[in-house]
């Protein structure tokens, strides 16, 4: 199946309108060519997961969409607007929010400052009481230094702060990495609730078990390309392939 067909086939089966369309996305870190023509779609209200081995190009894909990779080519359309040449601050103001793998909690800011840091880019962000309802731990730690929180709490803070902004399209990079099972479960509940609230989520995960509890669709990334894609309903039929792709 050609790459673009992989991108479109499962997406057409989904219900919401197309919100993100990535075509022939290539990206470089200095001289290293990392992405070799990524193609996939995300529809409004979906949770789409990029799966793949370490170094496959999943994180680079998110960073390229967000505009924080220096050299990138191809086409990234968000709400039918091509954003491939936009700077990351403009992309954020269009309604895309990014939660990085390393969480990006600022040590010189307390929890309250970290939470309030991203500016509100449009209406419709979650109010603070709803955020504290999702992450009650944060309310008790508002005056603590951001990096003094536990790994789980830092992850919650990293997700919480982008929910305030009004961005409706969230990109979460390995939100479960290095966390205890009980915290992973809590993050799973949060993603499910955000989906119910109407957020569209593009998730990068290596933890397939976790991804299968929240995702509507999957794309497999290998060597900087999307090599396969299927819906959650087709998961059992694709398990053997998936084990081969992920090497599990």
């Amino acid at each position: 199946m050609p790459d673009t067909a992989i991108a479109e086939a499962p997406a057409k089966a989904a219900t919401g309108g197309n919100i993100l369309q990535v075509r022939n996305l290539e990206a470089w870190y200095g001289e290293s060519h990392i992405l070799h023509g990524i193609n996939f779609d995300v529809n409004a209200g979906e949770v789409v997961t990029l799966l793949g081995r370490n170094g496959a190009g999943k994180t680079t894909t998110l960073k390229s969409i967000m505009g924080i990779i220096g050299k990138r080519t191809g086409s990234v359309k968000f709400n039918n607007q091509d954003i491939i040449r936009s700077t990351s601050d403009k992309i954020a103001r269009m309604g895309i929010a990014f939660c990085p793998e390393e969480r990006g909690i600022f040590s010189s800011l307390d929890v309250r400052e970290n939470l309030m840091l991203p500016p509100v880019v449009r209406e419709g962000g979650l109010p603070l009481d709803q955020i504290f309802d999702l992450f009650p731990n944060l309310k008790e730690r508002l005056n603590s230094q951001g990096t003094k929180l536990s790994g789980g709490e830092q992850q919650m803070l990293a997700i919480a702060r982008i929910l305030r902004t009004g961005a409706s399209f969230l990109m979460l990079d390995e939100p479960t990495e290095g966390l205890a099972p009980v915290i992973i479960q809590q993050i799973g509940h949060t993603i499910a609730r955000l989906k119910k609230e109407g957020f569209t989520i593009l998730l990068v995960e290596q933890n397939f078990r976790f991804a299968s509890t929240v995702a509507d669709r999957y794309y497999i990334v290998e060597h900087g390309k999307v090599i396969d894609g299927f819906a959650n309903s087709e998961l059992s039929a694709n398990m053997d392939k998936l084990h081969t792709y992920l090497g599990v």
């Binding site: 924080i68 601050d89 010189s108 840091l117 982008i162 902004t165």
Partner: protein
């Protein structure tokens, strides 16, 4: 005893200039990662702009306190946009060499037109005279410099440590890429921050003009001591720069009273001692 108090006052005044200048340097280093050797030159430009405003435009000291930092700040922002921004991500040495070169050019141009001797700048009428405090005579202008500098330093500290804008600045110091991905125009913020740091130096220049006269090399004489202050306080630390600036001014003043021969070197001796014991400075964080 009168002499001791007089030296303490001189120390506090020098401390005011150290604090204002090192604060600007700390803000610039924290945000741009640039060791701004042009800081002495922009301090001198602040004094010269005040001189021009008065002698060419008839604009008095009080307006100069506002206008000179804005004018020199704009000059700084043009420097940042046209030259310094291209050094992002490069070794500190490039920024140091570039700003050192800028300082030499600016000082050279002023020296070419105005020579090396000082131009007079009168103390404004409202701040002339002095007060007898019983234990010493306090010239009003010198008291004003200390109080005003302290207020400006604390206002800058408040801006950076206690406001949302300051939170953006501190966060962008740690991770500018992520802050930009939140929707904040970081390049513009960097330009404004450089303008702020340069403006603080120009403000110090205006304050200094009636005390030290207006000279092309007035900044070159001061900047080495100010760098020592920043190193002692901790590179990039805002409160560290303020406290160390005032404290070292006082220590220098006391040394002038107790052991005058060491007064020009005491700051550097302290710098060496601090670097031996705490290489990140008294309030600096490890990189």
């Amino acid at each position: 005893m009168q002499a001791l108090y007089a030296q303490l006052l001189v120390g506090l005044i020098n401390g005011s200039f150290y604090a204002l200048l090192s604060l600007g340097l700390a803000v610039i280093f924290g945000m741009l990662n640039i060791i701004n050797f042009a800081h002495g030159a922009v301090y001198m430009m602040g004094a010269f702009v005040a001189y021009f405003l008065l002698n060419l435009g008839g604009i008095n000291y009080w307006w100069a306190l506002l206008l000179a930092p804005i004018i020199v700040g704009i000059f700084g922002m043009i420097l940042e946009r046209t030259m310094l921004q291209w050094l992002t991500g490069l070794d500190h040495l490039y920024g140091l060499l570039l700003t050192f070169g800028i300082a030499l050019i600016v000082q050279g141009v002023f020296q070419n037109y105005f020579g090396s001797s000082g131009l007079p700048y009168a103390i404004p009428d409202q701040l002339k005279g002095g007060m007898n405090l019983g234990f010493m005579f306090l010239p009003v202008y010198r008291g004003w410099v200390v109080v005003f500098s302290l207020v400006v330093c604390l206002a800058t500290w408040f801006l950076i440590e206690k406001t949302q804008l300051g939170a953006y600045l501190r966060a962008a110091t740690e991770n500018p890429t992520l802050v930009r991905a939140f929707g904040i125009n970081v390049p513009r913020m960097i330009t404004l921050t450089y303008g702020l740091g340069v403006g603080l130096a120009a403000l110090a220049g205006v304050l200094s003009a009636p005390i030290n006269q207006v000279r092309p090399l007035m900044g070159a004489d001061l900047i080495i001591v100010v760098f020592a202050v920043v190193v002692i306080g901790g590179m990039g630390s805002i409160m560290g720069s303020i406290i160390t600036g005032f404290a070292l001014g006082v220590i220098e003043g006391l040394t002038k009273y107790f052991y005058p021969e060491a007064s020009n070197t005491v700051v550097f001796v302290l710098m060496v001692l601090v670097l031996l014991v705490k290489p990140t400075g008294l309030t600096g964080r490890a990189a």
